[in-house]
Symmetry: C2
Subunit: 485 residues, 2 copies
Amino acid sequence: MIPQTTLEKLRSVVGKENVLDSPEDKIAYSYDGTPLLQQLPDAAIIPRSVDHISQILRLANEEGFAVVPRGSGSGLSGGSIPVDNSVVLLMNHWNRILEIDQKNLTVWVEPGVITANLHSTVEALGLLYPPDPGSAAICSIGGNVAENAGGLRGLKYGVTKNYVLGLEVVLPNGDVVVTGGKSMKDVAGYSLKDFLIGSEGTLGIITRVLLRLIPKPQASRTMLAYFDKMSDAAETVSDIIAAKITPAALEFLDNTTIRCVEEYAKLGLPTHVESLLLIEVDGRKAEVEEDGEKVVGLCKKHHSLDVRVAATEQEAIQLRTARKAAFSALARVRPTTILEDATVPRSEVASMLERIKSISSKYNLTFGNFGHAGDGNLHPTCLTDERDKDEIDRAMRAIEEIFLEAVRFGGTITGEHGVGLAKRKFLEQTMSEPALEMMRKIKDALDPNRVLNPGKIFKLRPRCEGPMPTNREQIKKFLEMGAYT
Amino acid sequence: MIPQTTLEKLRSVVGKENVLDSPEDKIAYSYDGTPLLQQLPDAAIIPRSVDHISQILRLANEEGFAVVPRGSGSGLSGGSIPVDNSVVLLMNHWNRILEIDQKNLTVWVEPGVITANLHSTVEALGLLYPPDPGSAAICSIGGNVAENAGGLRGLKYGVTKNYVLGLEVVLPNGDVVVTGGKSMKDVAGYSLKDFLIGSEGTLGIITRVLLRLIPKPQASRTMLAYFDKMSDAAETVSDIIAAKITPAALEFLDNTTIRCVEEYAKLGLPTHVESLLLIEVDGRKAEVEEDGEKVVGLCKKHHSLDVRVAATEQEAIQLRTARKAAFSALARVRPTTILEDATVPRSEVASMLERIKSISSKYNLTFGNFGHAGDGNLHPTCLTDERDKDEIDRAMRAIEEIFLEAVRFGGTITGEHGVGLAKRKFLEQTMSEPALEMMRKIKDALDPNRVLNPGKIFKLRPRCEGPMPTNREQIKKFLEMGAYT
């Protein structure tokens, strides 16, 4: 528990009204989008300036409490779940688009800007911010940067990291660093922004983000293709890539997911098919037409039962809904939905799906599968009930097997959700000790007192209590206490 | 000086024939592509396996010498210049392309592979490795990764970082880490590869690189446009971007550079024009035709004196030569060529060139200017003579002013060459203390004994001699020695 005297100091930094510590407030910030994880913070704090954040972090170092940053709280790996002795730092109020520079195709935003709001704002100017996480309607740019969010356009356009040109960040010691800028090329020193992107709130609090935009493609074509066999869908994906077409989206749904989506959204999807591909090509008009026709041809070549091509933007939105509704549709079926993001090299997607199927049978579980076929980023989604301890145990064992399998296929335990608390155990299982040790060293070097989101991504090694020694006297005292084994 | 006993130990690790310490050898590895910098190493070592490198680094930690990695030695910031008490680690022998995976569009290479060899190998398969540094014919992939090399295709295709999927690296303590993989999305833990890319050989020795390839564009069109006024060329660049065209190359040469190139390569360039733009658009045939015509139109709109459009690939190569020969052509004029890479946001290119012109006059120097107009990455090139101490002094002051000016324009002191030794002073001048401190902390955490390319990028803070304490006894000894002030 953070003592009241410390909370008083926090109140004097940000103002009384910006320290929320009623039981209701604590409950509201005790969980995020991740199932099964919950812990009460000691308070939630709304900082109103960069200087507030610096002061809060300095206080955390002095008084020994932890700070857990939080944007929209839509994360799926527990990155914003409070830890022992922590305050949650609410960044969702920081939601202004600060500057759109049409000459340099850049935009400065605050971290709380909702991703979909940025999309629509820049698209109105004929520009595109490509990263499009499934949760775009509710997630925030700060969270996207902290997790290096991926999404539907990863195959062609890359992920969040590819669009971050600069960051303003408050470091764990309270120092403020601006790194990067509007130059498209910049190799002056270590790329500090790349250290921070994907660091899941453990190395710095993001206070401003400079993003790169691109011209909006002239045209796009959206298609839905149905297949009786998953292997046909997988071969279609391979052939599209082999034909040197790079779709903006190349997504799949399995039968379980299709049935749930149809029940939920009534899109007229055939519920008997084994698999569905959502394919979107974009670019110049002529290119889109050429690619669109080729894609239809390849779908047919691989025994597609039907290919629906959107004739209007309205229809395209409807087809996209089949994919975008997947998570919500699956989440209605059982009380607890565990959405994972095991990722494999594209060539292994079909084999990996086979493995997931047999793991699911082995543990007698229901999995819906959907995801980004084009970049190998799958979303095996376990439909379960956290009140059923036995089923949850089986789900946990199944998920562990799925992760180990993904790594065996040359893939990773997380393609876009991050490690947080939920996947920490699997990271430690699958990553080599030297790589883990490198991460620990970086964390310890930048956050010696472990004030920033401690215990996320990897467990911190236990050590003597109190702040790290920085001078002779402290070190002497530590030696007397038996430190440095 | 590294004692003979240590050199003996190195010989027993890699074999006698792989430790080069004759005076001739030492001289051969005492310099790289950077003017004005030279220092003799104590030896050059050829490692023949990853394990050799681990053993060398462990020995370096134990015996207290430094290791300076070197690829082709074409660097322009002194990154591979030996330091006191150092051996140079020669990686240019590691030059095999290990695996081309056409299903996943990836390639594993050893670090010594020459960039142009990779280009031609994958292009023969209809694929493209986009990064194209000016030195592609001689530089190596390992050096490209260490410096995060840019090049001519940066505007449309990004830089080296955007194509590195994975790395095998020997860390300063001799541990081997493999980070990343063939999954296009991977957010499992800190992105260690992004910590290493651009770290200029100070955090790890790269032993294998996994790169992403893309389908080779169907068509391209190469154009040369001449302008009487630099401002007209600059406005053409702005208008091309505003027209939502993203050329694969958008390069400029100033009059000094044009004259030198013409004298050197006899391409029939008009030597009276103020500026020349090399513009290359690529993509689908229809797109290329459409964009090519638009570009010609925009050049004419801004009073281009002539636009040459390559009719054949042969002619395209000739037009590209105008740009690619720039450095070599300028280097013939005076004994010493200082090629810099001050970079500004694209919108500031014209103003920055104006400033360079007036700085050049102020110090009575000759500068040739060329570079990547599309991404703001300029190459002000001072033609001078290192034997003329006064002129070199003026050159140094001029270059310092140019860097400060670039930063004032929101740019950076280095867009693609790295900091190394040559720009360390300017990094320390232009970067905030908290950002520098963050870099120092990371370096100290990962390389506490400072064995790997120490003193590159930033000066290391002086501290007690000898290795960092890691246990109780050492710490006690350090306290007695008066450490930890």
